[in-house]
């Protein structure tokens, strides 16, 4: 096993002092491969803190370009990146922060055609997306591949985080049915309280670091809910749903489906 060099010892000095990480944990981080799907409000802090922690290979997947209205919360981006692909702008920011990492910029929409091939190349998947379609897709794909998925989502002034570990429940166990079409506003119409995604996205990064290093207790079978206005945190426990169509006792879903049709949005 390659030992850390002198510069790495300096860069990660604060991790080497932590009993739960230490040298072995840092080497595990440096060898790990994490995919962040969606480099927006949640993906920004998640990517920054995972790069700072020394996750060796970070995949960034997003089809969008940086818009001025993103800069209110997507702190990895800046005005020099306006109109450029988010993954390119974010990849540059991560390389500036930590040049020793490999950053893969994947300028694509993750969909039912490419999800399995893409997720298969990584150890942990971080959900930074903002649609029900993508959440069900990532959950199913991660389950089918046996990969842990760190889920985070935000809505107005509230957010939530949990970890879906195969065999311990999935997004469908938490939300068996998507909301009825039209019941939810499209994301551009949903306000987001500044700094809220910082909290949720950073907890997603912390959970990823714990999954890679084996440190502590991951948020498995627990959803952490945060209300930024009331400033409260609540934990809700959940179990794998034995009737879940994908991870239950008698699964009926064995491959990815058409998630646009499933959640009732036009393709």
């Amino acid at each position: 096993m390659a030992a850390l060099d002198l510069r790495q010892r300096q860069r990660y000095a604060r991790h080497l002092s932590l009993a739960e990480i230490g040298e072995a944990g840092q080497e595990r981080l440096l060898r790990s491969r994490v995919l962040i799907v969606g480099v927006g409000a949640l993906g920004s802090p998640a990517a920054l803190y995972l790069a700072a922690a020394g996750v060796g290979t970070i995949g960034l997947a997003d089809h969008d370009r940086v818009r001025l209205s993103n800069l209110q919360r997507q702190v990895i981006h800046s005005i020099d990146g306006l109109n450029q692909p988010k993954v390119q702008v974010a990849a540059q920011a991560l390389r500036r922060l930590n040049p020793e990492l490999t950053v893969e910029a994947i300028e694509a929409t993750v969909d039912e055609r490419n999800a399995l091939d893409l997720l298969a190349r990584f150890d942990v998947v971080v959900d930074g997306t903002d649609s029900f379609r993508a959440r069900y897709l990532l959950s199913d794909a991660a389950y089918l591949l046996g990969k842990p998925l760190v889920h985070g989502s935000i809505f107005r002034v509230e957010g939530q985080v949990t970890v879906f570990k195969p065999g311990h429940g999935c997004y469908r166990c938490l939300y068996p049915e998507p909301p009825p079409p039209g019941a939810i506003e499209t994301s551009e119409d949903v306000g987001i309280f500044a700094a809220l995604p910082g909290i949720i996205g950073t907890i997603e990064a912390a959970e990823t670091i714990k999954l890679v290093t084996g440190a502590g207790d991951a948020l498995v079978n627990r959803v952490l809910l945060h209300d930024s206005l009331a400033m409260t945190f609540r934990e809700i426990r959940y179990e794998r749903n034995r009737a879940c169509p994908i991870c239950g006792d008698r699964p009926t879903v064995h491959a990815l489906i058409d998630y646009g049709a499933f959640v009732g949005v036009a393709p």
């Binding site: 510069r7 300096q10 860069r11 990660y12 000095a13 604060r14 991790h15 080497l16 002092s17 932590l18 739960e20 990480i21 802090p45 920054l48 803190y49 700072a52 922690a53 020394g54 001025l68 209205s69 800069l71 209110q72 919360r73 997507q74 702190v75 800046s78 005005i79 020099d80 500036r96 922060l97 930590n98 107005r156 002034v157 551009e188 949903v190 306000g191 987001i192 309280f193 500044a194 700094a195 809220l196 910082g198 909290i199 950073t202 907890i203 990064a205 912390a206 959970e207 670091i209 714990k210 440190a215 502590g216 991951a218 952490l224 930024s228 206005l229 009331a230 400033m231 409260t232 945190f233």
Partner: protein
């Protein structure tokens, strides 16, 4: 356009956005906590941000201080921070102050801003900021981190202060610094983002601040706790018989380590 996604919130709206643009925040210590706080306050459109720090960027900062890049090593943190924040929103007035808060300058620094965020890492400075906030009647968002977690509480005039909960800083021999004990970047990210959220709520006058409550986060266990606490009727700084009562005589009333002398 830039702030569309928060302007459409009832809690913000055009009037709230105007309030943010007119407001000023001091971030004392632009390290692990100050980095996310500064990023989110700049993103939200805070009108004026004061960055107070006398240190330079070091390689060992980069596991958590995501405001900086490898090419910033050796630069003053406040200068590197100004450059990064300007790239997010050039309209924000950024004030780089290359100094540490001390009894001699704390009133001048704090009086120049509406809300103060504690991003420092020394106990005596945290207690100095608390004492000054009480004596000056200035809202202070306290934060502290170690290893995988940390805490936030907000000190508002008339509400309990840090010394109501912790009379004195712990003895130096019983506490470990971040250097000795270690720190994970994401812990600073959670605590610093909560501090930014608190500051934004104070400026907007919305929601319930962490006054009379302390938020404690244990990232390793994925556990959070919010505990209510009351004013200590014998608090050395915020009670009727306070012995810390004059910032100009602070060094006579509080030791260099932040302990109450009288």
């Amino acid at each position: 356009m830039r702030h569309h996604r928060q302007r459409i919130l009832d809690e913000v709206g055009p009037a709230g956005q105007q309030r943010l643009t007119s407001a000023s925040i001091a971030i004392v210590g632009v390290g692990g906590l100050g980095a996310p706080a500064a990023l989110y306050l700049a993103a939200a459109g805070m009108g004026r941000i004061g960055l107070i720090d006398d240190q330079r960027v070091d390689l060992s900062n980069l596991n958590r201080q995501v405001l900086y890049s490898q090419s910033d090593i050796g630069l003053l943190k406040v200068d590197a921070a100004v450059r990064r924040l300007r790239a997010i929103d050039p309209a924000i007035r950024l004030e780089a102050r290359r100094e540490n808060v001390q009894p001699s300058n704390v009133a001048e620094v704090m009086n120049a801003y509406d809300v103060v965020i504690d991003g420092t890492d020394a106990f005596e400075t945290k207690f100095l900021l608390n004492d000054a906030a009480v004596l000056l009647g200035k809202p202070l968002v306290h934060g502290a981190v170690l290893q995988w977690g940390g805490q936030v509480l907000t000190v508002l005039p008339g509400w309990p202060c840090l010394r109501c909960l912790f009379r004195d800083p712990p003895e130096p021999e019983v506490v470990q610094t971040c250097e000795e004990a270690g720190i994970i970047g994401a812990a600073t990210g959670v605590i610093g983002s909560v501090q930014a959220e608190e500051a934004i709520k104070l400026v907007l006058g919305v929601g319930t601040p962490l006054s009379g409550r302390i938020f404690q986060h244990d990232g390793l266990r994925g556990a959070t706790r919010i505990t209510e606490f009351r004013r200590d009727p014998d608090c050395p700084v915020c009670s009727a018989h306070a012995t810390i009562n004059d910032l100009s005589r602070y060094v006579d009333q509080v030791s260099a380590r932040g302990h109450v002398l009288v």
